[in-house]
Amino acid sequence: MSVRINGTTGVTTPNLTATTKVTTADLANTGNYNGGQLGNRNLVINGAMRIAQRGTSSTALGYYTLDRFLHGRTGGTRTFSQQTLASGTPFDLGFRNYMSMTNTTAGSTNTTDYVEVYHKIEAQDVATSGWNYKSSDSYITISFWVRSSVAGTYTWWMRDEDATSYTYAFNYTLASNTWTKVTHSIPGHSGLVFNNDNGAGLRIQWMAYYGSNYCSASATLNEWSTGSSLPIHDTTWNTTSGATFDLTGVQLEVGDTATPFEHRSYAEELALCQRYFETTNANISGNTNNDRVAYIPLNPYNTGNAYGAWFYKVEKRAQPTVTHGGSHWRVYQVAGLLSSSGTGNTDGIGINQMAFYITGVTFNTNQSAFADYRQYNAITFDAEL
């Protein structure tokens, strides 16, 4: 319905001050709130720990469970997993998942043991974030919810990946089995460098334990440092079988104030993750019978090779590493199934598509062909930092 108002007679100014939600003062002040950026504030992807395309539990070192978060460890057996949150303050604030590091088999007081998880942010996204990182008067703020079964002091750590000698760390204290929100504002520094490119810019890191080989009793905390910034860690977490360290609600934003966590839709978060990794296996949706990739058109080039192209769902950060190897391709032509063991090869890998070809099959060059890939692991595209 449209309404036409002729003149201003009879039109009154809305009484903004009568509402409890928004006042004119609020509107005037929002422009100054952390630089005025009201959306897309969080530089961290998957900070609510919702997306786990690769799987939900692993003891391996690397990217194996939650998207964009890498597990690191030596000594003992450490299980990294995506867990469901069912109650508590983070639940009340809209979080339904968290990352958990579990000390499945305890390590020791060994000086080389460590248990960590870290997240890397593209340099161009830091460079263009609006943080005047060369100025000590300009800040970014980290906030996260964290819980450990072992009470004590823990360290958060960050490194400028384009000027790797610059690191920043601070300590925080946890009571056992209690979700705690940690916030900390970090000033810029004249020595920081963030290239306007697709390489790593910031590495932000949580650690349940770091052995003394990596730490120093005279570590510099709460300021950028070109020396050691990792303090000596208490060994209790590392030596306690079954100890846990849980994390969710990670947000890094420009400004000196930790604003409420910026929740994103599942679809948006998944798409952001897929710039770095995507898989043809949609087990994340709960369907366990969807490894199958069918049917991809092939063009027989000669009797020994047929070519195809695979377009990604999301453009990749860089040319990705691809898994589609082995003799796992099922190949069809007019007569039906030609082979269940075609071999996958890669002809070229771009940031939007992969060109591939199938060998190990005798093709009829006068017929079109198609193939599917369903008997083994999914095809994956990895452009992680």
């Binding site: 391996a60 690397g62 697709n198 080039y301 860089a318 040319q319 590493t321 090869n345 002809d347 060109a355």
Partner: protein, 60 residues
């Protein structure tokens, strides 16, 4: 990152046999790695080759 083997591959369509990628076994999985320095696997291969701990075999 454990790189057990690595071999250059060429594009079948390229008549000049230019290397277009590396087929490797990384952490027990067969993968195809592009020659992009921004790719973390390729960057690691370059690092290990420079350190003398890995050799990338020529394409067949």
């Amino acid at each position: 990152m454990n790189i057990e083997s690595a071999q250059y591959t060429t594009g079948m369509m390229d008549s000049d046999s230019t290397n277009t990628g590396i087929q490797a076994t990384v952490d027990g999985q067969e993968v195809h790695i592009p020659l992009d320095p921004a790719n973390r696997h390729y960057a690691e291969i370059l690092k290990q080759v420079e350190a003398g701990t890995l050799t990338v075999a020529a394409a067949e």
